[in-house]
Structures are given as C-alpha cells and as structure tokens.
Amino acid sequence: MVPLSYYLILSGILFSCGVVGFLIKRNLITIFMCIELMLNGVNLSFVAFAAHWHALSGQVFVFFVMVVAAAETAVGLAIIIAVFRTRETLNVDQVNLLKL
Amino acid sequence: MDVTTFVIVSVIKSVIAIIVLLTAVAYSVWLERKVVGHMQNRWGPTRVGPFGLLQPLADGIKFLLKEDLTPPYVYKPLYIAAPMIAVIFALTSISVIPIGNWIYIGDLHIPLQITDVNIGLLIILGITSMGVYGVALAGWSSNSKYSLLGGLRASAQMVSYEISLGLSLIGVLIMSGSFSLRTIVESQQGHFWGFIPKWNIFHGQEIAFFVYLMSAYAETNRVPFDLPEAETELVAGYHTEYSAMKFAMFFMAEYANMITVACLATLLFLGGWNGPLFGPYWLQAVLPVLWFVAKVFCFIFLYIWVRGTLPRFRYDQLMNFAWKFLFPLAIANLIITGLIVALRS
C-alpha cells in the first residue's frame, strides 16, 4: 500500500522539474520537452486521484490531456521548425525580437 | 499454481521462446536467400551443409568473429545503444503472443504463451512503436549523411504507417471486442457453411487485412518500402556505419519484427491456431501449434515473394500512399465495420 501523497509528491517533483527546466534550458526543443514533462506529472496525479476516489473520469481526463499534448506538440514543433528556418538558431535567448 | 512454479514455468517458456525465435530468425534469413535465389535463377546458399542449411550458423559465427570497429566522430553512447534498443524491442514483443491452446502437464495447465495479458495487442503496438528509436538513433548517432537520411526516412515512415496499422487492427477489435489476443483467436473459431473457416479475413476484414499487410511491410522496412536502407541511394541506410555484431543485431531485429508481424497477422486475421483437429491426444495437443506455425510460414513466404517481385517506391510515393490511400481506406473500413456490428447487435 502506498499513500496517495507519495504519488502526488512524485508528480509534484516531476512538475517542478519541468518548470525549472523551462527556466534554465536554452534550447527550444528541450524547453518544449519540459512542458511535456509537466503534463506527465499532472497526468500522474490525475491517475492517482482516480484510483483514490475510485472515479474513472480521472483516467479519461488523462486521455484528453494526452490528445491536447499531441496537438500542441505537432503545432509547437512546426513552429520551432519555422523559427529555425528564419532565425537559424534554437537558442531562446536569441529569439527575443518581440519586445519594445 | 504457486509463485515458484510460476516463475520456473515462465523462465522455461521464455528460454524456449527466445531460442525458437532466434532460430526462426536465422532460418527465415536462409529461407529468404534460398527463395529469392530461386526466383532469380540462382541457387542461393548451397555450400554449408545440405542445401546450405548450416548457413545461418556460419553467418552467426562470422558476425561474432569479425572486428567490431566504431568509426570516429560517432556519438558513441547512442551508437552503441541503438542496435540494442532495436533488438530488445524486437524480441520483447514475442512475449505476449500466444502460439497455441492450453497444454496440460500433470495437474498444472499452461498457456502456450509467455504471459497472457488482457491488453496484449496494445502492448505489442507499444513495443513496436518503441522499435523506431533503434533505427532513428542509429541513423543519427553514426554521424553520416547516409545514415541520417536513412534514420529520418525510417522514423517518418514508421510513424506514418503506424497510424494506418493501428486503424486496420481496430476493425478486428470491434469484431472480437477484446484486446486479449487469446480472446481474439477464440472469437474466430467455427466455419461458415461448414467449410469456410470463420477467420477475420473471411469475415469482412479483407480491406483491413490489405491495409495491415501494406503497413506491416512499411513498419518492418521491407521491400517495397525499404527506403531507409535503399542500397542504390543510401549505401545501407541507417546501418551503413555498423559492422559485425551490431549490424547483426539490426539484422535480427528486422527479421524478428517480420516474425512478430507475421504472428500478429496470423492471430488477427488468419484465425490463429484454429484448424482441423484429429488424431490422438498428443497430436491434438500439437496440431494447433503446427497450424499456427504453418500460417506464419505462409505469411513470411509472402514477404519474401513480394521482396523478390516488386520494385521500390519513391519516397514521395511512399508518403502519398500512406496518407492519401491507406489512411482513408482504413478509416472507411473502420466505419463500415462499426456500422455493420452496430446494426447486427
């Protein structure tokens, strides 16, 4: 038997890792991966809660999260490709034209 | 049964399965060379043993003994990891494939299957989808343009065809209503009008079978979809830079995948181990396995036959075929099947 909180803490750790990665990584693709990492952390908490409350809808939500993640990945990677074509770089610190 | 026997039986089953699979791989290579040779008015391997039957053994020894050189400027960890990944996933997928009915040894009766999970089909799909990484990483890590192109092609092609593959399977799933391969096979027992077996391929899944066939060829990078290793354009595609045992691993992975796909086709469309049963008890215990093996053999022979016959697609043709022909076809099949089942119930 594993306390629910352990699952939640695990998902929290994953999520925080994702955020920190978003903050410290410079590579667009890696940052994007960090987003996926956050999503996975959230999914874990979903499933854990579903098991805890005996409500399958939690697992259904995970599906929706996955679908959204897939769509987001497709568009995001396409954007990354477009950015790379124009700016010839993947470093976010050099993709900072959008400012006053 | 208690845990110890369970473990023991599982270990035994796994060992048997691995050995059988590896030999099957080796001899399917031999078979291919033979058949293609005959198709091209050659003899194929003849020297080693009668009809070159020992040829696979010789090849294996050769691979083991050859110098294993890693070219400079490769990204080493992945360069080494890639073939392992490929072969591991190729071999793992056999673990959920049932090759026959239950057999009874004394009081414990054992499924002819390493493990029987109720989402076996999903597991197989997952594992095969992981198999892409081997090819892709190999192509990328070996830091050569041919490999890179091969890897790119492989990954794109596999991802594309995986969709129509999965869609073609869904029709069968609707028919049987379960992910468990054993259930699927059992749902195909019986005959129409006494003589036509009630296999899915005769049961309204012809289109699905066709789609599955095409997608399976593409998934396993076989002719006519062997763009990733097109000798004429990219020397040997993603495993250009590999030699010796690493190359052998890719080779094994490819053929293991072939066999997995063949088994899957047999289970899903060709009625698995269903077939006429007769004779004494021991024969009745063995016959299903024989039927199963025979069907798999036929499927692999089809593979080789196609390889000997068809030319290679162009890459854009490949993609168009996947997205503009197979994909809609699979969806149409899915809709029709769903409608039929819904109306029948």
């Binding site: 955020v19 978003f22 903050l23 410290i24 940052i31 610190d93 900072n96 400012k99 006053l100 | -």
Partner: protein, 684 residues
C-alpha cells in the same frame, strides 16, 4: 360603435412633411419644399375639416386608441386621441391659422437661405401642437407640450448666427422648463393619487370629489402646479419674460407660435382640466389674479414700446392675461372664445406687421415708419380690421370675446372687471398708437430716399438684424423701395381679416340678441360637474350662459357700453397724442420721468431676474460645478489615472524583455505566490 376617424393622421401628416423637408429639403428646389410643406399642412387642415363635418354624428368625448405605450402594472398610458368640442375648436384654429401662416411664410421667407429648414421646423411644430391638442391623457399632452417648446426654441433661434436670437431661444426654452417642472409635479401628483393620467380616468375620479372649501387640498396643489406650467407656456407673470425676446424669430413664427397657437396651450390645458379648478377655489383665484395682473402689467409695458413686434408681443401677453382671467372666473368657454378670436386678429396683426417689416426691408422701429397708408394699402386695411378687433369695437371679433370675459369677470368681482376695462383702454390706446405711428403722418424713416442707402445705412443694419439674415441675399431692387407684399402674403392677411371681422359672431351673447352658439357648443365640455349645493363661490349663472335669466341683460349691456367707451377713449387719446400733437408724448414722458423710464425698460424685470436668479445660478455652476467638481474632481480623476497608468507602464514595460524564460520566470513567481497563499489559507 363610434366610427374610426383616424385622428392620428392629423398630427402625423405634418410630421411626414417635416421629415421629408428635414431630410431632403436641402436638395429640393424652393418650389418643391413649399409644395411639400403646404400639402401636408393643408392635408391636416382638410382632415380636421372632415372630422368637424363628421363631428355631430359622434358621441363625445370620442377617444381613439392607436397603440399601447406604457403598461406598468395598473398604470397604463396609450397612444390614443381625445376628441370633443374643445379639442375640435382648437384643432380647427391650429390647423387653419397654421395653414394660412404656412402660405404666408412662403412669401415672407422666400429669400432666406434656411428655407427648407424653416418649413421643416414649422411642420414639426404643427405636429407637436396637434399632438398636444388631441392628446387623450396628460402624458401625451406633455409630449406635445415639450415638443412645441422644442419647436419654438428652434424657430426663435432660427437665425442662430445672430447672438441675440440664439440667447433668446435659450431663454425661452429655460423659462419654459421652469413651468414644465410645475406641470410634471402636477402629473406626478395625479399619478400618485389617481393612478392614471387619462382624462377620462382622472375626471371620473375627480367628479366624485367635492369642492375644497377649506382652503388648500390635493386639487388645489395640482391646480396651482398646472397653472405654473401654464404660466411658463403662456407667458404669464412671473414667467412671461421669454415672449418679448421670442420676437427675435421670424415674424410668421411670432404669428403662429407666439400669438395664435402655442402660447394658448396653457389656456387650453387649464380649461381642459377645468374640473380640477372648479373644485379648487384658491387655484381659481390664483389663476384669475395672475391673469388680471399680467393683462394690466403687459399692457402698460406695451404702451411705451417702440418696436412694432415688441408692442404686439406685450399685447399678446396681456390678451393671454385676459384668457386666464376668464379661466380664473370659471368662464372657460369665454376663454376659449377669446382664444379663438385672438388667434385670428393677433395672427393677423403679426402677419400684417411682418408685411410692413417686409415692405420696409426689415425695419421694425415704429419711429422710422409712418404714412404707409398709401404705400401698403392691403396691409393697411387688414391691419385696421385687426386693430379694431383687438381694441374691442363692435362688431369685430375681439369685442364679443373680450366683452364676454369682462362680463363674466364682473360677476365674480368688480376688481377684475375694473382692471379688465382699464386694460382694454390701454390695449386700444397702444394698438391705435401703433396704427397711427405706422400708417399715418408722414414717413420718418431715413431710408425713404433712394435704393443706395438701403443696404448702406449702418443704423438700419445695427438695429434690425432681421434684414441682415433674411434679406441680405436679396439684392434685387424689389427691396430697395418700400413695396407692398406679394399676393402669397396678402391672401392670408385678407382671409384672417375677414375672420377677425366676423369671427366673433359665433358667440354673440344673449344680451345682444345672439344665442352665444360657441358657448352652447362647448357646454357639454364645460358644464359644471359639481354636485348641487356645493357650488358656492361662483354665481349659478356662471356654469353656462344658456340658463341665464334675462334680468341680467340690461346690466350686461351697461358693462358692455362701458368697455366700448374705454376702447374709444383709447382711440381718441392715441389720435390726440400721435396725430394731433406729435410733440406731446415726449413731454408726457418727461413729466412721468422715472416711471416712464421704468415702463420703457419693462420695469427692469429682466434685470431683476438676471440679478436674482440667473447670475447666482451661472456663478454657482461656474465656480462649484464646473471649476470645482467637473474640473477638480472628474477631470482630475481621469487625467491623474491616465498619467498614473502611463508612469506605471513606463516602469513595468521593462519586464517585456522578449525573453521567453523571463516571462516564464514571472509566471512561476506568480504561481509560487498563489501556492504559498493557498497553503497558508488552507493550513490556517
């Protein structure tokens, strides 16, 4: 089932004309504009005649429901029209005189750049006036009430490029607002106590109530408030000040709005709600006193005026005073009678005066006129008829109406009668003064000689802005020399002249062997509804003159003789002073000294108001509302918030570094803050 007369057509037709001229008039030719205006106004007149023809067969009051407007719980107001004898008379007067004045204006305004605008406003006024007349409840009436106010504002300020005209329009509007305020409160009181504004409902509710003998009550309050409204609209003391200034408008406007129709709206309203007044003696008394005082007051002012239109304006005020005096003595039919005749001869006077002004190319000062008898014969003769009518010589129209008012007033109190007679004397005096000054003697205008001096005389330019606006575009010789007006202007004059001669014959009193048909006709409306025995405070024969004992006839004849004598005395005095001895007036003026000054300056009423009301108001709103509140609080708040926003964003915008990771960092910071807060809340 009473037939449906489509009364709504009568107001709506002029509205359509106004819309057409308002929207497309600018592109039309003058002829088209004229035709449109005439057509729709004339159509309204024709329909009114048709209604009149059908009237005898109607059961009065005849109410026509058009559409629902306000249905709030039990309180309901509908677009519906109310036709009875009273509104029929008003209807005919308004449409008829209005139509004549439309015709006249076509000639008078012919050179005005704002021709189409003028007719648009005129039609609009007709619409609102007819709405007012035909309203079947106080709210619709109030719409018309406000609407005519708006129209009069627009028309007074018609030459808005001229400062005096614009301010005069504003003055009229504001003063009217004061009156409307009283009217509104009266309406609220009615809603509060009777829960309805329909005439039927209100009167039915009232008819049960008795006379408020013991001083003030609800009806008294309502009556006085209504009277306040009437004061505003009908230019009674203390709210009459706007009317003389309203003469800034074109003369046809003065004729139509400020003599014939709009200013009589108050009288109409008071007599429409006569049941309220009948039950409120105090309110009645207030009305009577106000009317009497106004009559006298305005007449005295009129004596000293030199501007021909101003004279007429003050005479209008004083005539209105007569009407209210009649209302005050509960002689509503007499009031309406005088209203009608007054509409004829006063409209005629204004039109004739306008014709004079037109002929003189914009001259309005009587001191520069004289001897126009030969030059403007038609104008002269029509004017003569009107003058005799207003002065009250038999058998002209004014005689009968005024005489009836005086007679009825005398029944209540001789004070009213005395003042009324004196006022009649003054009236005839200043009217004949005007008459003599304008048409007799020899011409005193410095611009008698030649055409050249016409447009170049600075005095004329400065003194009569009318010509500046209306006639400057007219450089053709026609306006150089003094000239008679075109027939399009003369025909209405003639018609009105005839009317003001014979118009009074509908109301020949019994004493003169007539049967006072108008009174008979209006009787159903004004028959007293007071339960018998409660009608103290007014002699019995006051209800209707139908049941008057013949004994009163001789007495009435005496009174009549006295008033006629007063009128002729005024005529003689005027002849003496302005024809026989033209020097005498100055000497008298010297003799009177300060009093004459005061009269000449209208008793300084305007200045008084300016000091007492206007200046404090303007200063207060300038200091407190404008500089204090508006600039100090609202503007300051707006500006300061805007500046603050700009400063803050100046500092904050450096956050927008374009670096995704920085943005993410801010987001993370916020998220961390939220987490801390939530956990703190949750743990606590």
């Amino acid at each position: 089932m009473t037939p449906n007369l489509h009364l709504w057509l009568i107001p709506v037709l002029p509205l359509i004309g106004a819309a057409i001229n308002g929207f497309w008039g600018r592109r039309f030719s003058l002829k088209t504009v004229t035709i449109v205006a005439w057509a729709f106004c004339g159509a309204a007149f024709a329909w009114a005649l048709y209604v009149a023809a059908r009237f005898p067969s109607l059961s009065t009051p005849h109410v026509e429901y058009l559409a629902r407007w306000i249905h709030a719980g039990s309180f309901q107001v509908d677009y519906s029209f109310y036709l009875d004898q009273l509104s029929l008379v008003m209807l005919l007067v308004v449409t008829g005189v209005g139509f004549l004045i439309h015709i006249y204006s076509a000639g008078y305004m012919s050179e005005d750049p704002g021709y189409s605008r003028f007719f648009c406003y005129l039609n609009l006024f007709m619409f609102f006036m007819l709405t007012l007349v035909l309203a079947s409840n106080y709210l619709i009436m109030f719409i018309g009430w406000e609407g005519v106010g708006l129209a009069s504002y627009l028309l007074i300020g018609f030459w808005f490029t001229k400062d005096s005209a614009a301010s005069a329009g504003k003055k009229a509007f504001i003063v009217n607002r004061i009156g409307d305020f009283g009217f509104l409160i009266a309406l609220f009181l009615l809603i509060k106590h009777f829960g309805t504004l329909n005439f039927d409902g209100v009167f039915q509710a009232i008819s049960g109530m008795g006379v408020e003998k013991s001083g003030a009550g609800l009806l008294t309050a309502v009556g006085i408030l209504l009277m306040v409204g009437a004061c505003g609209k009908s230019a009674q003391i203390p709210l009459y000040v706007w009317l003389p200034d309203a003469m800034e408008g074109p003369t046809p406007v003065s004729a139509l709005i400020h003599a014939a129709t709009m200013v009589t709206a108050g009288v109409y309203m008071v007599s429409r709600s006569h049941m309220i007044f009948e039950r409120a003696p105090i309110a009645l008394m207030v009305v009577a006193i106000i009317g009497t005082l106004t009559a006298l007051f305005a007449a005295t002012i009129g004596v000293a005026q030199t501007d021909i239109k101003k004279v007429l304006a003050y005479s209008t005020v004083s005539q209105l005073g007569y009407m209210f005096m009649a209302c005050g003595v509960a002689a509503f039919s007499a009031a309406i009678f005088h209203l009608m005749t007054h509409a004829f001869f006063k409209g005629l006077l204004f039109l004739a005066a306008g014709s004079v002004i037109h002929g003189l190319g914009g001259e309005q000062d009587m001191r520069r006129m004289g001897g126009l008898r030969q030059k403007l014969p038609w104008t002269f003769w029509t004017m003569t008829a009107a003058t005799f009518a207003i002065a009250g010589f038999p058998p002209f129209a004014g005689f009968f109406s005024k005489d009836e008012i005086l007679w009825r007033a005398s029944r209540v109190s001789l004070a009213y009668w005395g003042i009324g007679v004196f006022t009649a004397f003054l009236t005839s005096f200043y009217m004949f003064r005007l008459w003599f000054l304008t048409f007799f003697g020899d011409y005193r205008g410095e611009r008698a000689m030649t055409v050249e001096t016409v447009q170049t005389s600075p005095v004329a330019h400065s003194t009569n802005p009318h010509r500046l606006d209306a006639h400057v575009p007219a450089e053709h010789g026609g306006h150089g020399a003094i000239h008679e007006s075109p027939p399009v202007m003369l025909i209405p004059l003639i018609i009105l002249a005839v009317l003001s001669v014979i118009g009074g014959w509908v109301g020949v009193p019994g004493s003169l062997g007539g049967r006072d048909r108008l009174d008979q006709f209006l009787a159903p409306v004004f028959h007293s509804t007071i339960p018998a025995g409660e009608s103290q405070g007014m002699p019995p024969e006051q209800r209707t003159e139908g049941a008057e004992p013949g004994a009163g006839h001789s007495q009435e004849l005496i009174y009549t003789g006295i008033s006629v004598g007063a009128a002729s005395l005024g005529l003689f005095l005027a002849w003496l002073l302005y024809v026989r001895r033209p020097k005498l007036p100055q000497e008298i003026a010297q003799g009177l000294g300060r009093f004459y000054e005061a009269v000449l300056n209208k008793y300084y009423v305007d200045e008084l108001y300016a000091v007492v009301f206007v200046k404090p108001l303007i200063d207060g709103s300038t200091r407190i509302l404008w500089q204090g509140f508006d600039q100090g609080v609202i503007d300051a708040a707006v500006n300061d918030s805007a500046d603050g926003a700009r400063h803050i964003s100046d500092t904050v915008r450096h956050m927008q570094s374009g670096n995704i990771r920085s943005y993410a960092a801010w987001v993370a910071l916020g998220a961390g803050a939220v987490i801390v807060y939530m956990i703190w809340m949750g743990v606590r």
